[in-house]
């Protein structure tokens, strides 16, 4: 395997997308397939996995130490990036995308590539809806908010009944695990789990398939290398929707 030292990149632009989500644009383009991710080194703090929202940006939700440190950075500051890693989405024909919260981020490159026909977008509240303008220009957009401040009042999964799943060759999903598990249950009921492509989230330390921190039960699949995108039928009867592991490898309910 060839050398993969983190590339030092400079943050050229910070976009406040929602009150809790920012896009960090950097001065380098990474040739990646939609759905691939990078390991982002926040110097002195940690290194964390992030989906690419474009060849030169990540879109980040502030949840803890490393993301808070990113939020404290300014244009002109430097971070390290290695990757792209993982398999990414693979679509042809007609595609339905379902994104919840910051999970819309890795789906955006699919939209930008003109590969999404219909996009179901969910968030807690109207101000947390991500990328609505950019999606609307490229796909049919349907919105749901938990509090009803925009679009359908309820979960994004409830929008699925308003489309005909038979119309789509691929269904790409990224969002909170409970939401993705609910989508998987619907695809299962409709008998089309193999058409679902779920981008899943597990604790990652190495990103290249060696350390084992992101391995899932029962097949020992590595989310960083065999994923992060898995077909729905692979996730049926797995740990998905039930538990994940923390930094020490201990199981935690999702």
């Amino acid at each position: 395997m060839h050398e993969q030292m983190p590339a030092g990149v400079m943050i050229t632009e910070i976009v406040e997308e929602t009150p809790s989500i920012r896009t960090f644009v950097f001065d380098r383009k990474i040739a990646a397939r939609p759905g691939q991710f990078v390991m982002v080194w926040v110097p002195g703090v940690d290194e964390i996995p992030m989906g690419l929202s474009s060849p030169s940006s990540i879109t980040v939700q502030k949840v803890g130490d490393a993301t808070a440190a990113l939020f404290a950075m300014h244009e002109g500051d430097r971070i390290g990036i290695r990757g792209p890693y993982g398999n990414g989405f693979s679509v042809s024909g007609r595609t339905l995308a379902i994104g919840g919260g910051v999970g819309a981020s890795p789906l955006l490159p699919l939209v930008a590539a003109g590969q999404v026909d219909t996009f179901l977008l969910g968030a807690r509240t109207a101000s947390e809806l991500l990328f609505t303008d950019r999606i609307r220009g490229a796909a049919a957009l349907m919105i749901a908010t938990d509090d009803g401040t925009a679009g359908h009042h309820g979960f994004v999964t409830e929008l699925i009944s308003r489309v005909d799943l038979a119309d789509f060759d691929h269904i790409c999903i990224c969002g909170p695990e409970v939401m993705m598990a609910a989508v998987l249950a619907i695809l299962d009921r409709e008998g089309c789990t193999e058409r679902g492509q779920f981008s899943i989230n597990r604790y990652m330390k190495c990103g290249v398939g060696l350390c084992g921190s992101c391995c899932t039960d029962p097949h020992g699949l590595r989310v960083c290398r065999d994923g992060p995108v898995f077909s729905g039928d692979v996730l049926l009867d797995s740990e998905f929707g039930h538990y994940a592991r923390d930094a020490s490898g201990s199981r935690r309910r999702v």
Binding site: D46, G212, S213, G220, G249, S250
Partner: protein, 295 residues
């Protein structure tokens, strides 16, 4: 190239399906990933090192891929006693639990959790980047002997994994043998560091870490060669092995079996690939080549 006769073997009190084991800390955090590697052709697997209390490991970056190798400073993340349950489904499989501790008593405590529940134990006296653990103990022959004795006296097959970051590895190997080790594993990673010129700081969160992969193969061969001269218990070679010919070379230096880690980064099917190249029904018995380079 030499071809070996296929079939189960016994090394240091542990029965293995072939001469190839998965090295500690590589895909060793879950029972499912260990099972996957066994199904992929490994003769046995070694788990992630388990210690006296749960640990999250060092802040990232924890690992960087460099030319010819990998530098890691994971910091021994592990779920501790909860790992016993992880192995329940692998009871009858050739699984060796790697353990660590800061004192002989801690080694014995952790060993006690797994005694009778795994094929054997491998003492990590060699991790180069966990303060108070690993190589901090593994460079002191008296401590190595004591820790080994504390575990071996439980009556379980006990392997001791050594660090190459010492002036005289043979002296440490002899101490493990005196402590009652059934086999010696050599080597763990070689202390190393890289600096990001763009960010003007060491890449790893822990600043330094351990180098593994092809780059350390010659170091590992030399260590196994030295140990073979100094010890009479079996040696398990580890460090940079990625081909069947590397396995044969390690055996000629004195190894009775080998562990493979970093090569998994290029191909998770590496065990099946090496098995395919290494074994042949017309092959010779491994005993004919183990240590033959010492003649």
């Amino acid at each position: 190239m030499v071809a070996l006769y296929p079939g189960p073997i016994e090394v240091g009190g542990i029965r293995l399906r072939n001469h190839l084991l998965l090295a500690a800390g590589i895909l060793g955090t879950t029972g499912a990933s260990l099972a996957r590697i066994l199904a992929n052709g490994a003769g046995g697997v070694v788990t992630k090192s388990i210690g006296p209390s749960p640990k999250e490991g060092h802040p990232g970056p924890c690992l960087v891929v460099v030319d010819g190798g990998i530098i890691n400073a994971m910091g021994l993340p592990n779920p501790s006693a909860a790992f016993v349950e992880e192995l329940a489904a692998l009871q009858s499989e050739p699984v060796i639990v790697s353990i660590f501790g800061g004192t002989p008593e801690e080694f014995r405590t952790v060993a006690g959790w797994f005694a009778g529940k795994a094929s054997g134990l491998e003492l990590n006296l060699s991790c180069p980047h966990a303060e108070g653990y690993g190589a901090a103990i593994g460079s002191d022959p008296a401590l190595v002997e004591e820790c080994t004795r504390a575990v071996a006296s439980l009556g379980v097959p006990t392997w001791v994994k050594l660090t190459p970051n010492v002036a005289n590895i043979a002296e440490i190997g002899a101490a493990a043998e005196r402590g009652g080790a059934d086999a010696i594993v050599a080597i763990n990673t070689v202390k190393a560091m890289r600096i990001s010129t763009a960010l003007r700081r060491p890449v790893l969160g822990n600043r330094f870490g351990g180098l593994s992969g092809k780059a350390i193969f010659p170091v590992a061969v030399r260590c196994v060669y030295d140990l073979y001269e100094a010890c009479s218990i079996p040696i398990v070679g580890c460090g940079g092995i990625s081909t069947a010919d590397n396995v044969v070379e390690m055996m000629m230096a004195g190894a009775s079996a080998v562990e493979i880690g970093s090569a998994v980064v290029d191909d998770i099917g590496i065990f099946a690939a090496i098995v395919n190249d290494l074994y042949n029904p017309d092959g010779i018995d491994a005993d004919e080549i183990v240590g033959c380079a010492h003649a």
